[in-house]
């Protein structure tokens, strides 16, 4: 019989019966395996790329020295390891030049991920290196050269040790994040720390142990071993903590791609179910004939089961090949622009593809085909016999379970699954109610309309239930596409607003109050767009509502927790949003303070609480009158604590700002430092460029995936239209036989399909907004905003697409003789 199954498939294929079914199945497998391979490869690459921001895969950070056994354990597990110590220290050259610098001492293996950038002269051409200075050497921040009046090869002193200046330090992979409050960078070797004698117990230092491995499992095992041993003040960092902005971008991109994959599977599932149903309806007569010729129901089940199996295997192979080509094409096309090397995908994506095909076939295609064996042989004598009771409810339940299961399995996120299902549920319930009501209501309007309209409305009503179901299916497909379009748009918008072209890529710190005017003038004269100059005062929190803060064992960590940069402002800073309380009126001299939300939570403080501070050696008390959120990803100066200007006026402050500099404007920094030698300039341009390039790659991936899913959506529409074409063709042929004009027949069909498309588009838009609200607000942690622009798109595209597809699929009815059309149905 398997020969017969092959032959039957081949014949059905030739007859065009299998087109949509096979296409949907191939597309499902291709979408799933392609997206999975794509995200796996991109993830491997992006994670590696983002690990460069940590200079490692995992980092343990502490204010005190950590056990060397940890590093030994790491090495014995074949992990790469490195250690870092960062501390502030004076650096001397000759007798009179000295500057407070932020010294980073690194072992030879540093950095484990990413590269060091340096140059042979200050602000000169950038070179890369995989290791830092050798023992006895230092690399100095570009601006230290003029400040110390030294050149390459000169000697400088840190504490008691003497070093040779070997290069200008430009950037380190892990420099983002912890630069505030430090001076210009000096890089030295870890082995030279003791010789300097500057690191004493209680010094303000930060130790880091760095770990990396290509073997993720080994790394996770090590982390599992290490984590229980961490004490207070020792923190384990991975990329998400290392670079929160990028971590969020990656997580959202991942959510999007998984969402897209899940929606692709849902769409393909619906297309498969529709196509299988049509296939089974058309095969009812064939089964009746075969049964009259002696085929038992077991024979029929076997025959169709085998056909489906063969179909599944063929579609899986084709789909996997297509999925592979899709992601390969993407990396081929955009590979050169990626600053990262895509990682291997492995076989898992194809296993997922095959499993998806199996689930799709079993839950969407098999139920209607299995019931073919119940077809009555009596149909050979009486073709008008009603078809076997189709138990559509069970079909839908099985399909829904499969869709939910696949989505959950695929995304690993029940909230995402629930968000999409909620949208689908709204579509179904609202859809059936609305469609039935509207289709019924059309009768009154239709009666007095011209004959095309009457024909169309009569058609809509005659097949009321079937049409309502079809409207729901169209609406589901359109809704899923709209959801994806909306999420993609807000995702890319969010990324672009997060890092616009002129994102500040340099910071200036330590600007003295008397220099403020001159700095502003210079920036203006050089035409450099800069953020306003913010005053900055370093202070500590001592008490909350009169209670002193509890002491921690770890002095350094405790200090880190309580020390913060204060600023003052009359206005709420631009990126900030008030979430509680009120902003103070201008010129307020009241003892008030505004806190950043997370900072307030850390201290358990809310509006109305009174906080005791120490600024320099002076005490200060203020009442919390507002809580703010701020955008840490903006690369603008951000402050946890903001006071009214008059309250802080008497305390010593320095100023800071951020500004954007084109690469060719870099020499400005030399001029600037010569004029303001005590101002600290932090170069973030490389980091900003890296983040932006990653985001642009992920955006391209998102666009590509969207295009693939649109194809899946189109298939559902085609399958949905085809499902109803037979009945419509039958009626239209009879009309045609009775002499109806081409215009009447096609016009009637056009109106009928357009009306369904209009309802479907309307429904889809409503449900999509709901679904997107759930997804963005609950799953992706983004702000939801209604999108009015999507309404005309949803409704317009629904109407035009479905009307077009409907008429296109029925076009035969006016181009072929009625009898031959009727014979083929």
């Amino acid at each position: 019989m398997s020969v017969t199954a092959t032959r039957m498939l081949a014949r059905d294929w030739r007859g065009g019966e299998l087109g949509v079914l096979v296409a949907a199945l191939v597309l499902a497998v291709a979408v799933v395996s392609g997206i999975s391979a794509f995200t796996t490869r991109l993830q491997v690459a992006l994670e590696q790329e983002s690990h460069r921001f940590l200079a490692a895969d995992r980092v343990v950070r502490s204010g005190r020295e950590m056990p060397a056994e940890w590093l030994q354990e790491g090495s014995s597990r074949q992990l790469q390891t490195a250690r870092l110590l960062t501390f502030p220290s004076m650096i001397y050259a000759g007798d009179e030049s000295m500057v407070l610098a932020s010294v980073k001492a690194a072992s030879s293996a540093y950095p484990l991920r990413g590269e060091l950038r340096y140059s042979q002269e200050p602000f000169g051409e950038i070179l890369t290196a995989t290791t830092g200075p050798q023992p006895g050497e230092v690399w100095l921040d570009s601006r230290l050269f003029p400040l110390l009046d030294v050149g390459l090869g000169d000697q400088v002193m840190i504490g008691e040790a003497e070093f040779t200046v070997a290069a200008a330090a430009r950037t380190e992979p892990d420099q983002a994040g912890s630069f505030l409050g430090y001076g210009p960078r000096v890089l030295m070797h870890y082995d030279d720390i003791d010789a300097t004698e500057v690191v004493q117990p209680g010094s303000r230092v930060e130790y880091r142990q760095l770990y990396a491995s290509a073997d993720n499992a080994a790394l996770e095992d090590f982390v599992d071993w290490l984590e229980p041993q961490l004490q207070e003040g020792q923190r384990l960092l991975d990329v998400r903590q290392g670079q929160p902005g990028l971590g969020d971008a990656l997580a959202r991109a991942e959510s999007f791609l998984l969402l897209a994959g899940s929606l692709g599977v849902v769409l393909a599932g619906v297309a498969i179910a529709l196509a299988a149903r049509r296939f089974s309806e058309r095969h009812n007569d064939y089964v009746a004939i075969m049964k009259s010729l002696g085929a038992t129901s077991a024979t029929i089940t076997r025959l169709y089961g085998r056909s489906l199996l063969l179909l599944g295997v063929a579609a899986t192979v084709t789909g996997c090949a297509l999925g592979w080509s899709l992601q390969a094409a993407f990396f081929g096309l955009f590979g050169d622009q990626l600053p990262i090397e895509p990682g291997p995908a492995g076989l898992r994506p194809y296993a997922i593809g095959a499993a998806t095909a199996l689930v799709c076939l079993l839950s969407f295609a098999w139920p209607p085909l299995r019931r073919l064996s119940l077809a009555s042989p009596l149909r050979v004598l009486r073709r008008d016999m009603p078809l076997e009771e189709r138990r559509t409810f069970v079909d839908y339940a099985v399909g829904l379970a499969a869709v939910s299961g696949l989505m959950w399995w695929y995304s690993g996120d029940w909230r995402l699954t629930a968000g999409v299902l909620a949208g689908l549920a709204v579509t179904v319930v609202l859809g059936l109610a609305l469609a039935l009501t509207l289709l019924r209501g059309g009768r009154l309007v239709g009666m007095s309309a011209g004959s095309i309209w009457r024909l169309a409305l009569a058609g809509l009503q005659r097949r009321g239930t079937a049409n309502a179901l079809q409207v729901v299916i169209f609406a589901m497909a359109i809704m899923l596409l709209l959801v994806l379009l909306l999420v993609r748009t807000s995702l890319i918008d969010a990324w672009q607003t997060q890092l616009p072209e002129d994102t500040p890529n340099h910071f200036m710190l330590n600007i003295a109050p008397q220099e403020v005017g001159d700095v502003e003038q210079l920036l203006q004269a050089e035409n450099i767009p800069a953020a306003p100059l913010y005053p900055m005062i370093r202070g500590r929190i001592l008490s909350v509502n009169g209670e002193p803060l509890p002491q921690t064992d770890d002095k350094a960590e405790g200090r880190r927790q309580r020390e913060a940069n204060f600023t003052w402002s009359d206005k709420l800073p631009a990126d900030n949003t008030l979430v509680e309380g009120d902003w103070w009126p201008p010129n307020s001299a009241a003892e008030e303070v505004s806190l950043e939300q997370e900072f307030a939570e850390r201290f358990g403080v809310t509006v109305g609480d009174r906080i005791g501070f120490q600024v320099g050696s002076e005490p200060l008390e203020a009442t919390v009158t507002s809580i703010r959120t701020l955008d840490w990803q903006s690369f603008n100066p951000n402050f946890w604590l903001v006071f009214p200007p008059r309250l802080l006026a008497s305390y010593p402050a320095t100023f800071m700002t951020s500004f954007y500099l084109e690469p060719e404007e870099k020499p400005f920094l030399n001029r600037f430092i010569r004029q303001f030698p005590t101002v600290t300039v932090v170069e973030m341009d490389v980091v900003v460029a890296q983040v932006r390039s990653i985001i642009s790659q992920v955006s391209a991936a998102v666009e590509l995936v969207l295009a693939v899913i649109v194809a899946a959506g189109a298939l559902v529409l085609v399958a949905g239209v085809q499902a109803s074409v037979d009945a419509r063709m039958h009626e239209s042929s009879i009309l045609r036989a009775l002499g109806a004009s081409r215009r009447l027949v096609l016009g009637g069909l056009l109106i009928e399909f357009a009306a369904m498309g209009l309802f479907a588009g309307l429904l889809a838009t409503v449900a999509a907004e709901l679904s997107v609200y759930i997804l963005q607000a609950q799953v992706m942690g983004m702000y939801y905003q209604p999108s009015p622009w999507v309404w005309p798109i949803g409704i317009g595209a629904g109407t035009v697409l479905i009307a077009g597809l409907g008429v296109f699929n029925c076009r035969k009815v006016v181009s072929s003789p009625p009898l031959s059309v009727l014979r083929e149905l």
Partner: protein, 209 residues
């Protein structure tokens, strides 16, 4: 039958001997097709029994009846009922394949040749005229050497000339194969060629014209 049920056939007793040819005549809606469906085991009666070659097919379930049909029964239908996706040859092979016969192709070719379609084996039904399609159907009906052949208005969709050729073919093969023939028609000329004729009138069966 009680209640609101509709009695289509009532009190019918019909015995057909092996090798007989029997025509059942009746107006549209007289229950001819229903009777044929029951006799051929395509349908289940609400009461009564149908016995073919000592097998009570009314006591069988649908799958057992299917096996029984495959071994013992052939059909020729008014609307031909060829599978549109199969070629003429494949259509004729189908019942043989369902029986698991090894030489299905050879036998099918033989019967197609017998109905004069040796040249058209690879053609699909839509490429053939009505008469040709019905000849394929006849070849298929005889292919598994059935004990009894049911024909439902075999000329109903054909013009008179073509119908005549088909009827000749049907009776010739019937004779050659020694098959029992049960023919349902409202065509008296066709009925006249059968050895026995029954008329179905308002659900009751009467022998003779």
């Amino acid at each position: 039958m009680a209640g609101g049920e509709l009695a289509i056939l009532k009190g019918i007793t019909l015995e057909i001997k092996s090798g007989d040819s029997v025509a059942i005549i009746g107006a549209s809606g007289s229950g001819k097709s229903t009777l044929l469906g029951l006799l051929a085991g395509l349908d289940e009666a609400s009461g009564g029994r149908v016995i073919i070659n000592d097998t009570d097919i009314s006591a069988l379930d649908e799958d057992q009846r299917a096996l029984f049909r495959g071994r013992n029964v052939g059909f020729v239908f008014q609307s031909f009922q060829l599978l549109p996706a199969l070629t003429a040859l494949e259509n004729v092979m189908l019942p043989l394949e369902l029986q698991g016969q090894a030489d299905a192709r050879k036998q099918a070719e033989h019967f197609l040749e017998r109905v004069g379609l040796a040249e058209r084996t690879s053609h699909y039904p839509r490429q053939m005229s009505g008469g040709e399609q019905q000849r394929v159907a006849i070849a298929r009906a005889f292919a598994n050497s059935p004990a009894i052949l049911f024909a439902d208005e075999p000329t109903g969709n054909l013009d008179t000339t073509t119908g005549g050729i088909i009827v000749d073919l049907l009776f010739d093969l019937n004779r050659e194969q020694g098959t029992t023939l049960v023919l349902v028609t409202h065509d008296h000329a066709l009925a006249a060629r059968c050895e026995h004729r029954f008329r179905l009138d308002a659900g009751a069966l009467v022998e003779g014209n």
